[in-house]
């Protein structure tokens, strides 16, 4: 059973773009640990100090819109973020997260955004497609991954995935 456990970092606003997640001047950097130091710099300069390994982001819809920079999921995953919960993701950010095997973009219903608070502890069960809010003692459902996405996740990224 695949269960992820961690704390939530909530930024409840839509359209958080890739320039906010990792600003343009850092695009020339390809050292993943170095990139992590600047994750979310455009929104919260204290972000990297707050995050521990295995934590989650909870954000508004269209997360990761803008550029195709893979630096965005790389930087977030290297801070320790394991999954991002959002009502929707921009398409390239979503693909990059999965195909590069960095982190899990998990789609939730819009109203769940209001039910989970910053710093809540949650458990995500990817087999049952549920979230257990340890802090609030509540269950929510998540949208299951499509077949190809879960197959690529299972393979550990696109390069390990065998075309059926």
């Amino acid at each position: 059973m695949m269960v992820l456990k961690g704390n939530v970092h909530k930024y409840n606003r839509p359209n958080i773009d890739t320039d906010v997640i990792i600003p343009g001047p850092y695009l020339k950097i390809h050292d993943h640990d170095e990139l992590a130091k600047h994750a979310m710099e455009g929104l919260d300069t204290d972000f990297t100090n707050k995050v521990s390994k295995g934590d989650f982001l909870l954000v508004g819809h269209n997360f990761g819109c803008g550029s195709s920079r893979e630096h965005a999921p790389i930087a977030l995953s290297k801070t320790g973020i394991k999954a991002i919960l959002s009502p929707s993701f921009a398409r390239i950010f979503y693909r990059n997260s999965i195909d590069g095997g960095y982190l899990l973009p998990i789609e939730i219903e819009e109203n769940i955004l209001e039910k989970i608070d910053d710093k809540d502890e949650i458990e995500i069960n990817l087999d049952a497609n549920t979230i257990w809010n340890v802090t609030k003692k509540e269950y929510y459902s998540i949208k299951p991954f499509s077949k190809i996405i879960s197959d690529i996740i299972e393979a550990g990224g696109l390069f390990n995935y065998k075309i059926p």
Binding site: L27, K28, G42, S67, E70, I92, R95, D99, K147, I163
Partner: protein, 425 residues
């Protein structure tokens, strides 16, 4: 049921008789592009794979791949310089000959190079390691941006998984007023559907205004489909497409794939161009669009005429028409999108007009469009820009503000030092 142009191209590229939106396909790729940001990313992917014993012997087809140097040239600093060196060695090792090198003839912003050089043909599947790869779809190709892992996969295997998108159709008709540019049209569309209004979808443009539009203006439309979240932007190829390609490639015959007459669109939008106003997208989203006259008089610190969206030859011509014989009141920078365009601008006398107005001409580069270098914005600075994004910090300091507009609006604003509708000059 028939297929839209996007569906038709993807059915051919995946060897399927038909495809339907939502289908997952493994598509063959005709052309692929990397640049000085995604290229080093691709190299890193292969280095990591090498550590796991996976050696990249050769590329799927080096002749179908090209490299642009655009984001950080002229080298912004030592890291950028090293990235280009790394990319050059990699290209030599794998035999990629189409490397548009800064300082060695034709080079420029990747999306401009792709059409300026006629690198993508109608009906092809083209993927690039940059989100605005959508631009090239105006040639009648499936053209989409991908991250560097996906591009690395394409460079190795020549194919990629795709979900067939639904197609939204935007019909633009009516008599196009002289002061309305493609930029105004696409800003108004994004304003209506929102910054994620076309997420995972194809945006197709048609109608009498598009039919009468020159190719460079069409590229402005497809370029900014990315700002509505679209997977690809596309326009059916016609005589203008063929003429444009023949000027560059000679008397070739092109395979002009078109959509079926009974194709189904997920949504159809009608626009009357005559009713449109010169517009701006206010900070901090390209969907934040109002007529210029609504914010007329907002003081600016800088006017920027650059990028794959707003520094093609037609953009420079439009800006020059407004700047001719006038002086700029604020810092104004013009960065042609490619060396070939720069050269044409010199021959046509546009560069003289810009310089006499007081503007600075920079080398072709992405430059300040992505806040990389070459005139980035300082604290609280306000910029009128022909680029495509105005997110917080996009062009420099997070407190700076960018108003996106057409080259005409930006040029008019440069003259007054305030956001200005060109009709009110």
């Amino acid at each position: 049921m028939g297929m839209t142009l996007t569906e038709k191209i993807l059915s051919h590229s995946s060897n399927s008789i038909t495809v339907t939106p939502g289908d997952i396909i493994f598509s063959n790729v005709d052309k692929a592009m990397i640049h000085d940001v995604s290229g080093p990313g691709v190299i890193k992917v292969f280095k990591e794979l090498e550590k796991k014993g996976y050696i990249l012997e050769k590329l799927w087809d080096p002749d179908r791949v090209w490299i642009s140097e655009d984001h950080f040239v002229p080298a912004a600093d030592r890291i950028s310089a090293d990235n280009v060196i790394q990319l050059t060695r990699w290209a030599q090792k794998y035999g990629v000959k189409k490397h548009f090198k800064y300082g060695m003839g034709q080079y420029g912003i990747c999306h401009t190079i792709s059409h300026e050089e006629g690198l993508v043909l109608p009906g092809e599947v083209y993927v690039g390691g940059d989100s605005h790869t959508n631009t090239t779809g105006a040639i009648g190709a499936f053209s989409a941006g991908l991250g560097h892992t996906d591009i690395a996969y394409v460079l190795r295997h020549g194919k990629i998984w795709l979900k067939v998108p639904e197609t939204m159709l935007f019909k633009v008709t009516g008599k196009k007023p002289d002061y309305i540019m493609a930029k105004d049209i696409i800003l108004n569309i994004i304003s209506d559907i929102g910054a994620d209004g076309a997420n995972y979808k194809a945006m197709q443009f048609s109608g009498s205004v598009i039919d009468g539009m020159e190719m460079e203006e069409r590229f402005t439309l497809t370029n900014m489909t990315t700002e509505a979240g679209a997977k690809n932007g596309i326009i059916e190829p016609d005589k203008a497409t063929v003429d444009y390609l023949r000027t560059r490639l000679g008397e070739l015959n092109f395979n002009l794939v078109k959509g079926d007459p009974d194709a189904e669109f997920s949504e159809i939008f009608d626009y009357d161009c005559e009713k449109m106003e010169p517009s701006v997208a206010k900070p901090y989203s390209p969907e934040n669009v109002v007529p210029v006259r609504e914010v007329q008089g907002t003081e600016i610190d800088k006017a920027y005429i650059g990028s794959c969206t707003g520094a093609k030859l037609s953009d420079l011509r439009s800006a020059a028409k407004i700047l001719e014989g006038k002086k700029v009141k604020v810092r104004t920078e013009v960065l042609p999108a490619a060396q070939s365009i720069y050269m044409k601008a010199i021959k046509e006398g546009l560069v003289t007009i810009f310089m006499e107005s007081g503007a600075v001409i920079g080398p072709p580069t992405c430059g300040a469009c992505c806040g990389a270098h070459m005139g980035v914005l300082g604290k609280d600075e306000i910029c009128a820009s022909t680029t495509n994004r105005n997110f917080p910090g996009r062009m420099g300091n997070v407190t700076s503000q960018t108003y996106l507009a057409s080259p005409m609006v930006v040029a008019a604003s440069a003259i007054t030092g305030k956001l200005t509708d060109p009709r009110d000059l």
